[in-house]
């Protein structure tokens, strides 16, 4: 593989052209704007930066954002695992439809999702008129934030676990079964160790998406400071108040979280690949 790749090098045309275009485009469209924001943040100085990111309103926004994202990820982890399992292992009417439908939250604009959810859970809404008499209010509470985060990040766990589950050969399970393993043992000892890296990667992606979610949340959250104000919303409010320093500092926090998740998913991918190599 390595020697062939080496021989192939520069045999095909377009290296200079595509390298030039790619580097230029990434520099102008991706790197430069990120650098501009980090520079703005850095220009604040450490003391101001720390004052903004550790302010009471910011800290309560982190709490709400991370807490809600954690709950949403918990739900999506279990729901995603269930969907992936059912889609790979069973045959039933409507399976193709369900498989296609899983991608809907990615295709549907977040503003449309937000509008739809707030209407569903409103007083006269399809869900709201059943839930509100029971004392369950979703709109303008943290429950609404969690639900918006759940909806917008449903596909991640399904789509990371599904291909791995498809690749597991049935004969390994057969072998375990003939050796007397119970179903639960087969899942815990044979299937789960293979699925786990993909499952965690999916959860991390889902969590990262939930942390940064804006469109879905903004409709249903009602932005009450300290109660339903997520970080992305607080950034937006700071911009509307022309408090650019505040916006830059908080955006840097979200950016760092994004970089950490990117790093974690890349490491998990490497771990998974190593695992698969060993299995071969």
């Amino acid at each position: 593989m390595a020697t062939r790749a080496l021989k192939q090098r520069h045999l095909l045309p377009g290296f200079g052209l595509t390298l030039g275009v790619t580097m230029l485009y990434l520099a102008v469209i991706v790197v430069l704007p990120l650098a501009a924001m980090l520079l703005k943040s850095a220009s604040l100085g450490w003391d101001d930066l720390w004052r903004i990111v550790s302010s009471r309103r910011a800290v309560s926004a982190y709490g709400i954002t991370f807490g809600s994202a954690l709950l949403a990820t918990l739900f999506n982890g279990l729901f995603g695992l269930l969907l992936a399992w059912v889609l790979v292992r069973y045959r039933f009417p409507g399976k193709r439809l369900l498989d296609a439908l899983v991608d809907l939250p990615f295709a549907l604009p977040t503003a449309v999702a937000g509008l739809t959810l707030v209407t569903l859970f409103s007083e006269n809404g399809w869900y709201g008129h059943l839930l509100i008499p029971l004392g369950i209010t979703v709109n303008y509470t943290q429950a609404g934030i969690v639900i918006a985060m759940i909806f917008t990040s449903i596909p991640f766990v399904v789509r990371t676990v599904q291909p791995v589950l498809e690749d597991i050969q049935p004969d390994i399970e057969e072998a375990a079964r003939t050796l007397g393993a119970t179903r639960r043992q087969i899942f815990a000892r044979v299937i789960w160790p293979v699925l786990m890296p993909a499952f965690i990667a999916g959860c991390v992606l889902s969590f990262a998406r939930a942390i940064g979610e804006f469109g879905g949340v903004v409709f249903i959250a009602g932005n009450l400071p300290g109660l339903t104000e997520v970080v992305s919303l607080l950034i937006f409010i700071r911009l509307e108040e022309f408090s650019y320093e505040g916006a830059a500092a908080l955006a840097t926090v979200l950016l760092l979280v994004a970089f950490v998740t990117l790093l974690v998913t890349n490491l998990l991918q490497a771990w998974q690949l190593r695992y698969l190599d060993k299995a071969r």
């Binding site: 192939q8 090098r9 377009g14 290296f15 052209l17 595509t18 275009v21 790619t22 990434l26 469209i29 991706v30 790197v31 430069l32 704007p33 990120l34 501009a36 924001m37 703005k40 729901f79 269930l82 399992w85 059912v86 889609l87 292992r89 069973y90 045959r91 039933f92 369900l98 296609a100 899983v102 991608d103 809907l104 990615f106 295709a107 549907l108 604009p109 977040t110 503003a111 449309v112 509008l115 739809t116 707030v118 449903i154 789509r159 599904q162 291909p163 498809e166 992606l205 990262a208 940064g212 804006f214 409709f219 937006f236 911009l239 650019y244 830059a248 955006a251 979200l254 950016l255 990117l262």
Partner: protein, 278 residues
């Protein structure tokens, strides 16, 4: 491929899991979509079209289509470039380029908007310089195009890279050895090989460009009728308590979303696509 396990009869667990998945999916995925179209059409087809043809919404449709026409071709071209570069050549920093390409995917749309504000805005890195030259980007359609380019930069590359890695370039080498020049090779060999993945990447890119809300709401300002794309118009109508108008506008984007997942299902039935890994 899948579901090859022999299952002579359905066990209780199997029925339970299938039932649970279907019921949850109905509540979480089917009902919301049904609600969008029900609410859009609840006052009748006439009122629906009156809402769509309302000048503000119609203009928002125009701007959204314009954004798609500008952004999608550029990111299709970029996606082909990146994919060609990282799948056909080995060079130091290759993995870094892929990672940088993927950055927009993991960044909050609000943060993307803020980045562009601090680049081209009055407070930004290049803003004052551009202003001195008489160029204003912030709060114009140009800013919407730029931030949409950022947000959707990875979409096409993400579909092409896994496919082109499998194809490994033998076809292209054959074309060259038969005397084709670079462009002939690209048009007659590469493009036909990747066309469906390319199409699917473009469809995903389009859905995101048309639906982008967070990043666009930062850079668009709030100038009614000037930079109001459809997602912003939906939010505006909702805040004006015009629920029918908001759902009429939302139904156009929801229709595009439904067409997008149909396109995906059809392409996957042909055995194309990266297996849904976004």
């Amino acid at each position: 491929m899948s579901s090859t396990l022999p299952s002579p009869r359905r066990s209780g667990t199997e029925l339970l899991l299938i039932g649970l998945a279907l019921v949850l999916s109905a509540f979480v995925l089917v009902v919301p979509v049904a609600l969008i179209f029900t609410f859009a059409l609840r006052s009748g087809v006439g009122a629906y079209f009156a809402n769509i043809l309302e000048p503000g919404t119609l203009h928002a449709v125009f701007l959204t289509v314009l954004a798609s026409i500008v952004v999608v071709p550029i990111n299709v071209a970029f996606g082909i470039c990146v994919a060609w570069l990282v799948t056909r050549f080995r060079f130091p920093g290759r993995q870094l380029l892929v990672t940088i390409t993927e950055i927009p995917f993991s960044i909050s749309p609000i943060v993307a908007g803020v980045c562009y504000l601090f680049l081209y805005g009055g407070q930004g890195l290049l803003g004052p310089l551009l202003e001195a030259a008489g160029i204003r980007l912030m709060f114009t359609m140009a800013a919407i195009f730029l931030v949409s380019l950022f947000v959707t930069a990875p979409f096409v590359a993400r579909e092409l890279i896994p496919l082109m890695q499998q194809q490994a370039g033998e076809d292209e080498e054959a074309a060259l050895s038969l005397g084709a020049n670079g462009w002939q090779m690209f048009w007659h060999v590469t493009l036909p090989n990747i066309r469906w993945a390319l199409f699917y990447g473009a469809v995903l890119c389009n859905a995101r460009v048309m639906g982008e809300f967070g990043a666009v709401s930062v850079v668009a300002g709030a100038i009614r009728g000037q930079t109001q794309t459809l997602p912003l118009q939906i939010s505006l109508l909702f805040n004006d308590f015009n629920i029918s108008g908001a759902f009429a506008a939302a139904s156009t984007l929801a229709l595009i979303a439904v067409l997008t997942i149909i396109a995906k299902a059809l392409l996957e039935a042909r055995g194309i696509g990266s297996g849904g890994r976004h």
